[in-house]
């Protein structure tokens, strides 16, 4: 099945349940973290603890091993899945167990311990209700926290009624839960071995934290006499006290619960007596607590990830699912589309690349568009888009390319010959834009001919259903060069950064920006500056992006030194200067540019706050408008500035709150992803077509967003700065 077919199938069969559940979790996260006064401090504390723990991992593993053995347990550090399974099979065999009950554990799914035990004739029962549904249905999890998120209540009822043929057909969630509880309850008390995961393990006391809500993990431990906990080596933290920020953050970040029903803090073997549940004579306390405990810590590629400067951050992941729920693409396709062998969502690229290899990560890595909405949501501050970019770069370099002749003229960046054709075309969009503008309007007519579109679809995977950008013959820089500034005694001086789209395609918003800035007393120059490198970075062409970043920094440096501010219209380029350049240029160069650059409406906001006269701008007289900010702009916290300026200029503003418009640069142009892009866009369309919004003119900050909204709505959207131009 082609990628497009596969995604279409998922959206049709699972999309509705996935969308409803992930958005519910995501909304819950926003609400729940808003109640935390010290949310940012807790995230920083969590990050610091993880950084420290991974840094000191060998020493902490030694300490943990010692403490667990002192309290009567065993520790086994397994090199890989086969090693771990061999150990667990031996434990189960030594106990002579017929049944193993399990609570939910992603790591146990990673090593596929169920299959290994079943091959020995052991009955393995998943007791987490979601996992059990999947075990009955023989399906894979679609979400790392809520594994059956893709199944509706109706489909679960149908499954149970078919499989178990209950006396009364099951229908409500309550009935289904009760049925499963009774059925699993009998199996739990009859099992010899309980397998759990471990969300965290403290090295000081050997205490493990299990974060659950159903109570099945508690029962799994209490009702069996042999406890096997399976966890990645990265789960160790130094002390019990270190659990604090995680306990506060994990539920809120994931499903939006302030805390899950149970946080088990177990220092096994636990003191709970091992009872015979059929006994009706012996009091509970008279049973002894002869228990065995095995902590199986799994390497399986993790120690190599620890030594990998780019993948190391993945090990800080606490598997909360925030990056899944906040991801616009995940909200449409779920983990069956956006996931690998075991893990799903944005961080899965790091996990799967480190554990399974680049080939597995490559199957879904393109679904990360770099929108960055997961960045602030991640409780340990992992730069998930960066991990996706790096892995994409590595995949590009591993993959053979074909039809190089077609792309030669458009991809002068020789260091990136590794990237596939399509990625190289989009990554080097600067070349195409220059060429397109120089030959406009002929280039636009030609590009839209049937023959050309077919060639693009075939050679570059550009979906024919998309309108292509229309290049302007007169660029923004041409226009600026041909006019004189109206500012004689400037209050501030600025460089308006001529991003690719503003310079070649959406020239009007550039002209508007110049007028607005000049009206507020700013002397504006628009020098020749290379494109930011956003386009190649999105395609995983890191070396090319580094080259852009270097040249942009060199071009802008002298202006900054000369006392000019850098004003950026395109949010995705502004985000490059504020975020990604940290990875691409040296620290002082990054800091210098980041500190002196502003998103255009952020700059206007600052000018007005500092005394510039907003009356010089065009005002709305109470006109109603709808504003869609840009994903990366929101991550930088710069949505509010635009809304505030528009309100100051007497517009009545409603703001969308979808995570991303779905276009995401070149993503929505690609044939494989066009329909997904439109599905994601559908959520924005719903908001913009809601009652009271449906007749408002739309403004949007990002180029991609403007293109997407243009495709979604009858209304033609504009950049907010165009409303303000006097």
């Amino acid at each position: 099945m082609s990628k497009a077919d596969e995604l279409r199938h998922l959206m049709r069969t699972e999309g509705a349940a996935i969308a409803e559940n992930t958005q519910g979790f995501n909304d819950g996260r926003y609400d729940s973290v808003a109640d935390l006064e010290d949310y940012e401090e807790l995230k920083q504390a969590a990050r610091d603890i993880k950084e420290d723990a991974i840094e000191r991992l060998p020493e902490l593993l030694d300490e943990l091993t010692e403490t667990v053995e002192e309290t009567g347990g065993s520790v086994y550090i397994a090199d890989d899945a086969a090693d771990a399974n061999a150990y667990i099979r031996e434990v189960v065999d030594d106990r002579d167990a017929d049944r193993v009950v399990k609570s939910k554990s992603m790591t146990s799914e990673e090593i596929e311990v169920n299959e290994a035990l079943e091959a020995d004739g052991v009955d393995v029962v998943e007791t987490d209700l979601g996992e059990w549904v999947l075990q009955v249905a023989d399906e894979a999890p679609s979400h790392i926290v809520a594994p059956a998120i893709h199944k509706s209540r109706e489909s679960i009822a149908e499954l149970f009624n078919e499989q178990f043929d209950p006396e009364e057909p099951l229908e409500t969630a309550e009935e289904l839960t009760h049925f499963a509880r009774e059925k699993l309850g009998e199996q739990i008390i009859d099992a010899e071995v309980g397998v759990t995961g471990a969300n965290f393990v403290s090295a000081d006391t050997g205490t493990m934290a299990l974060v659950t809500s159903e109570g099945n993990a508690r029962k799994t431990v209490a009702a069996t006499d042999t406890h096997v906990a399976v966890a990645g080596v990265e789960k160790v933290v130094p002390t019990v006290a270190d659990l604090h920020p995680f306990v506060e953050l994990i539920g809120r970040s994931g499903t939006g619960q302030d805390i899950t029903s149970y946080v088990s803090l177990l220092t096994p073997p636990v003191e709970t007596p091992v009872v015979d549940f059929t006994d009706d004579e012996t009091p509970l306390s008279a049973f002894d607590n002869d228990r065995a405990f095995h902590l199986v810590l799994i390497d399986n590629g993790r120690l190599a990830m620890r030594g990998d400067d780019q993948l190391r951050e993945t090990l800080y992941c606490i598997r909360c699912s925030a990056c899944s729920n906040s991801c616009a693409n995940f909200q449409s396709v779920g983990g069956h589309g956006f996931g690998g062998e075991t893990y799903s969502g944005g961080i899965a690229t790091g996990w799967e690349a480190g554990i399974e290899g680049l080939d597995v990560a490559g199957e879904f890595n393109d679904l990360c568009t770099g929108c960055s909405r997961c960045v602030n949501a991640c409780p340990v501050g992992i730069d998930i888009p960066w991990i996706n970019t790096v892995v994409r770069d590595r995949i590009n370099r591993e993959t053979d390319t074909s039809a190089e002749w077609l792309v030669d003229g458009l991809t002068p960046d020789e260091e990136d010959e590794g990237a596939p054709l399509q990625k190289r075309f989009f990554g080097n969009f600067e070349t195409a834009a220059k060429l397109g503008s120089a030959t406009a309007p002929v280039s636009n007519w030609l590009a839209d001919t049937t023959v050309a579109r077919r060639a693009m679809a075939w050679g570059l995977g550009i979906d024919p259903r998309r309108d292509l950008p229309t290049f302007e013959r007169e660029t923004l820089r041409d226009w600026v060069a041909a006019r004189d500034s109206v500012v004689t005694d400037p209050d501030r001086r600025a460089v308006l950064y001529p991003d690719l789209y503003t310079n070649y395609v959406q020239v009007e918003r550039g002209k508007a920006a110049v007028s607005v800035l000049e009206a507020l007393g700013v002397d504006v120059v628009v020098p020749d500056v290379p494109s930011s490198g956003r386009a190649p970075l999105s395609q995983g062409m890191v070396a090319t992006a580094e080259d852009h970043a270097q040249r942009v920094s060199e071009a802008l440096g002298p202006y900054i030194e000369d006392g000019r501010d850098v004003v950026v219209i395109e949010p995705s380029d502004h985000a490059m200067f504020q975020r990604e350049y940290e990875k691409l240029v040296d620290e002082s160069t990054f800091t210098d540019l980041a500190e002196h650059s502003y998103e255009v409406l952020e700059y206007v906001y600052g000018l007005v706050e500092n005394g510039a006269d907003a009356a010089a701008l065009s005002t709305g007289d109470g006109a109603e408008i709808a504003y869609h900010s840009h994903c990366q702009q929101r991550t930088l916290g710069l949505e509010a500035h635009t809304a505030a300026v528009l309100e100051q200029c007497d517009y009545d503003v409603v703001t969308s709150d979808v995570e991303c418009c779905g276009m995401a640069g070149s993503f929505g142009y690609k044939s494989d992803y066009y329909e997904l892009s439109m599905d994601v866009g559908g959520r924005l369309r719903d908001q913009l077509e809601a009652d009271g919004v449906d007749d408002r003119p739309v403004v949007a900050s990002g180029t991609s967003c403007l293109e997407q909204i243009d495709a979604l709505l009858e209304r033609h959207p504009r950049h907010p700065v165009e409303l303000l131009a006097p």
Partner: protein, 173 residues
Amino acid sequence: MGKTSAAFETSLDELGVTVTTADERTVTAEITAAITEPAVGVELDETLGASAGSLAETPVVVDPTPAALRDATTGVTEATLGVGDYGSLVLSMTGRASELVSLFVNRHVVVVRAADVLPDMDATIQSLHERFNRAGGSAIVATGPSATADMGELVKGAHGPKTVHVIVVEEAE
């Protein structure tokens, strides 16, 4: 009532957990009022001390057989700590099977001293850090009834209790 106790009761209320208050003289009467029979329990002397009365004065069967546990509707145990801002209860896991009594029932009635309710999670984890480092042991931080959303919508009462009732014991005046 102190600020922490008030916050604790508000948090419990938001979780759908019912609360009554008692002092040492009235605690057994409050337990009797809170349980649905058949009820089983673990004696309360661990944190409350002997002066708080005994479950022997209530219909609660102390230290039941496993069969009686499985037949019981209510389990009565102590909590060693409460967490003011979350409404959480720290349950111990002792040889007296408090873990089984609090888990294998539909209704959990928890007795906690007002003085043991800490203001927040930070203080609670810090307290457990000290306890575990001093004496080892395990605990459950339990917040509200067991729950699942795996069957298509939120259902209270998954593998563990469906309802939780808390009795806060204040110092006798």
